[in-house]
């Protein structure tokens, strides 16, 4: 009976998660897009329903025209990115030209002043007057017509040959915060997403030989007059994008999960010859849907579309949109390297379906909630697929712990800003801090206090805040609940917001004493392994409240001749592990001279007789 009640309670809990009110009807986009492959343009129309969900009346709203980032080299995006993204250089121009703009059937006034972060020469934001003022709870209809010119793809959007990746291509209303403040910003070099959940109803018109993949479920499809017209509808998403190419090949799979609203049609569109790569993408996506669904709540949409871009369209690779993402990788999978290209990128972009797609935090303000959480979740999925400490790859028995690479990448070398900073605060080190350091912080917590508790905390955050716009305090609250009150103040906040680390080192080991110390301020408990001269090995704990551990080397189990801190490598916020151990006396003879000698002989056999 008690079990039955408990089950009922659990079922209700699941039901309440699934039916989280999305208020999606308050915002709706009815869009049409006509692709002209000769001119590389998309002719668009939009009927946008927008509701003032804030507590203040509004006399203007903001539209984001992010494709204008590619208008010239003076845009904020171009200046911040230096005209390149992930080493792909810009080679052409693009933009959005609005040909008609009406609010409630009246021509709207486009205001040229009053932009937050306004900068000359940047046309990625537009301020539109609302008259009469829109009261809280009231709604308006915005009708827009425009022509989007797609650039040769170097940063997410554009074309390469007859491949089209059409993202950030329509005028999109910025998000109005409940307090009446507009969260609007130009298209920055890092971080692009922050928008309301809405219903997107998109009709795409392409030449009839083109195959299309788009956000949402295809509900209509017709071919006539040499054109193919399809309609895609997506509920409770905050963006829409599509890809098109005449040569796309397709692999599909169906995924069903207990407690999910729908089965998911997984569809991978890929260039001819990429069949083996597509199999890896689909396999990884299916595993990820199950893994992430279990931890962070089921994937709620009926479709998931994976686009594998062709060679040369690398700028479009590895980008997330709701229910659709682009992945990366050549036609040949590399089975022993998981932490690059195929598996890693698909896992990463799929994780974004939760941390960005469902938890629509402000990516410019808090990229760590978006890219940071996604990066940890990616490594965690690869670990589930390929084994503990083998998530980076494995070759001839040598395994690579991808988390260790996150640690080294984040903490070695030039110091970066803490990951909790806004995206546009970073001039360099964005990836090292937001992606890698967040991963190292989270994995340190996970390894120190156990993964079960960690995923409970992160899962609670993800389930509670899906279809909303969480902030760091929401994340911290979930961790405080799963660990103890004050946990985030002691650990997460200093690590994420102040850049605190948790280094340990052996400060002294000699004939008298052993001294171990903790540097960097974060109270992370760890273990110390003591090696006695009789060969015995013992362990003591180094509790989080202590910054120093010392004892005489004389010991009933035998004199201490060696010491290692954190022998299980739980702490990933230690920039240098080489000072984590020490020994006294001569090092035991080891075969490494003989091993390295054969290597040197190999090298000299090339140069010598």
């Amino acid at each position: 009976m008690r079990a039955a009640i408990l089950t009922l309670v659990l079922l209700c809990a699941v039901a309440s998660i699934v039916t989280t009110p999305a208020a999606a009807q308050d915002h709706a986009y009815i869009l049409s897009a006509r692709l002209d492959p000769d001119a590389h343009t998309v002719k668009g129309t939009a009927a946008i329903t927008w509701t003032n969900q804030s507590t203040l009346p509004q006399d203007h709203l903001f539209l984001h025209l992010y494709l204008n980032a590619f208008r010239d080299r003076e845009s904020v995006f171009m200046r911040e990115s230096g005209g390149q993204l992930r080493n792909v250089e810009t080679t052409g121009v693009g933009g959005i030209e609005i040909t008609s703009l009406q609010v409630d059937n009246h021509d709207a006034e486009r205001m040229t002043e009053g932009f937050p972060e306004a900068r000359e020469d940047d046309a990625t934001q537009m301020r539109v007057a609302l008259s009469p003022t829109v009261a809280p709870g009231a709604r308006v209809t915005i009708d827009v017509e425009w022509v989007a010119t797609l650039p040769p793809v170097f940063a997410r959007s554009g074309y390469h040959g007859d491949f089209y990746m059409v993202g950030q291509w329509f005028p999109k209303v910025a998000r109005l915060e409940p307090n009446g403040e507009w969260a609007t910003f130009p298209y920055h070099g890092h971080g692009e997403f922050y928008a309301d959940f809405a219903t997107y109803d998109l009709t795409i018109d392409v030449p009839e030989d083109y195959v299309v993949g788009a956000t949402g479920e295809r509900v209509e499809h017709a071919v006539s007059g040499g054109r193919a017209v399809s309609r895609y509808v997506a509920e409770r998403v905050h963006d829409t994008a599509f890809a098109a190419a005449p040569w796309f090949e397709e692999q599909t799979a169906r995924f069903a999960q207990l407690g999910a609203e729908h089965a998911v049609e997984v569809r991978c569109l890929y260039p001819p010859g990429y069949d083996a790569a597509a199999e890896v993408h689909v396999r990884t996506a299916l595993a990820g849907l199950a893994h992430f669904g279990n931890l962070y709540g089921p994937y709620p949409h009926p479709t998931l579309t994976i686009i594998a871009p062709p060679r040369g369209a690398d700028g479009a690779a590895g980008m997330e949109y709701p229910t659709l993402f682009t992945t990366a990788g050549e036609w040949f999978p590399v089975p022993w390297l998981h932490n690059a290209w195929h598996e890693e990128v698909t896992a990463h972009e799929l994780a974004h379906q939760w941390f960005q797609g469902l938890l629509a935090s402000n990516e410019v303000a808090w990229p760590m909630l978006d890219e940071g959480l996604t990066s940890w979740a990616t490594q965690d999925l690869l670990r589930a697929l390929y084994g503990e400490r083998a998530n980076g790859g494995s070759l001839v028995g040598i395994t690579i712990d991808g988390f260790e690479f996150s640690r080294l990448f984040a903490l070695r070398g030039r110091r970066t800003l803490p990951p909790g900073r806004p995206a546009n605060a970073f001039h360099r080190g964005y990836g090292r801090s937001v992606y890698a350091r967040t991963t190292a912080i989270l994995e340190t917590v996970s390894r120190t206090w156990g993964r079960a508790r960690f995923v409970r905390a992160l899962g609670e955050y993800a389930r509670r805040h899906r279809f909303s716009h969480p902030v760091p305090d929401d994340l911290f609250a979930s961790f405080d609940a799963a660990y103890w009150p004050g946990f985030s103040s002691a650990v997460l906040r200093p690590a994420m917001l102040d850049g605190a680390i948790a280094a340990v080192r052996v400060q002294r080991l000699d004939e008298e004493a052993v001294v171990v110390e903790r540097l960097g301020g974060l109270p992370i408990p760890t273990a110390i392994e003591l090696h006695h001269d009789g060969g015995e090995i013992s362990r003591v704990s180094f509790p989080q409240r202590d910054v120093r551990y010392s004892r005489p080397v004389a010991d009933p189990a035998g004199t201490i001749t060696g010491v290692e801190v954190d022998p299980d490598h739980h702490g990933l916020l230690d920039p240098d592990r080489a000072d984590d151990f020490a020994r006294v006396g001569p090092a035991p003879a080891d075969p490494w001279f003989a091993r390295l000698l054969t290597f040197a002989q190999f090298v000299l056999s090339v140069a010598g007789p």
């Binding site: 260039p271 400490r389 690579i400 640690r407 075969p591 001279f593 091993r595 000698l597 054969t598 290597f599």
Partner: protein
């Protein structure tokens, strides 16, 4: 083979000595940085801390080690023409000391042979790079598989050509060891080297590489420091024996040219 054995062993011993000095420096740097076997174990365990240890050693000793290793290599490269000629001459008449003084007296000719060979390899590399760089076949559509595979085959062909050109160099040097001038040696050596000879050379060279791979493998497999050293060095010496066998076949071919 027996005639050349003292020379073969001498060259093995010399290159081993040259290899051992930077190796000893590196392992000492390793031990002095951190004298704990755990870092070495980490090398095979895969995960941390080997990367940290490696980076720490590199930071502390990297530049010095690199310069020393470069000096050793440069020294070996500089004396290789003379040493090779010495070896070749020993294959011919076995008299080690006389062979050495012969090699010393004909160093310039041997050097010329090596320079001509380097030029041949350079030309092959340039032609190969141009061929790959200009190759646009199969790139018009999104399916690049055929293009990639053909490029791979082209690279393989030129790599094999450059690698196999060692057969020519050895034949030239063998002619120099007969006492001929560089020009004569190049003529005779080239005539002595048929198309099949390239494949025989590649076969011997690959067998030598297999010996070196075995050396590394047994060194990794054996934990006893002395055992690892002895077992691996047997294989390294066998690599020299394999090359000595090849030099003998070269000598016979060169001598057969009328």
């Amino acid at each position: 083979m027996k005639r050349a054995l003292p020379a073969t062993f001498t060259l093995y011993a010399l290159t081993t000595l040259l290899s051992a000095t930077p190796t000893a420096l590196a392992t000492n740097a390793w031990a002095s940085t951190f004298g704990h076997p755990r870092g070495a174990e980490g090398l095979v365990a895969g995960s941390a801390p080997w990367l940290d240890v490696f980076l720490t050693v590199l930071r502390g000793h990297g530049a010095g080690l690199l310069i020393f290793a470069a000096l050793v290599t440069a020294f070996l490269v500089a004396v290789t023409p003379t040493l090779s000629l010495y070896w070749m001459r020993s294959v011919r008449d076995g008299a080690s000391l006389a062979a050495l003084s012969f090699a010393a007296s004909r160093t310039l000719a041997a050097l010329a042979v090596y320079i001509v060979h380097a030029a041949v390899v350079f030309v092959i590399a340039v032609v190969g790079a141009c061929a790959v760089g200009l190759f646009r076949f199969g790139l018009s559509g999104p399916d690049t598989r055929l293009h990639d595979l053909v490029v791979l085959a082209v690279i393989g062909f030129f790599a094999l050509l450059a690698f196999g050109s060692g057969a020519l160099r050895d034949a030239w040097l063998s002619s120099v060891a007969r006492g001929e001038s560089t020009a004569q040696a190049v003529r005779r050596g080239t005539r002595a080297t048929g198309r099949g000879t390239y494949f025989v050379y590649v076969g011997y060279a690959l067998l030598g590489l297999v010996m070196l791979a075995c050396a590394s493998r047994v060194a990794l497999a054996i934990d006893s420091p002395l055992g690892a050293l002895l077992a691996s060095q047997v294989f390294v010496f066998l690599r020299f024996v394999v090359r000595s066998r090849w030099l003998e076949t070269t000598k016979r071919r060169v001598d057969a040219v009328s």
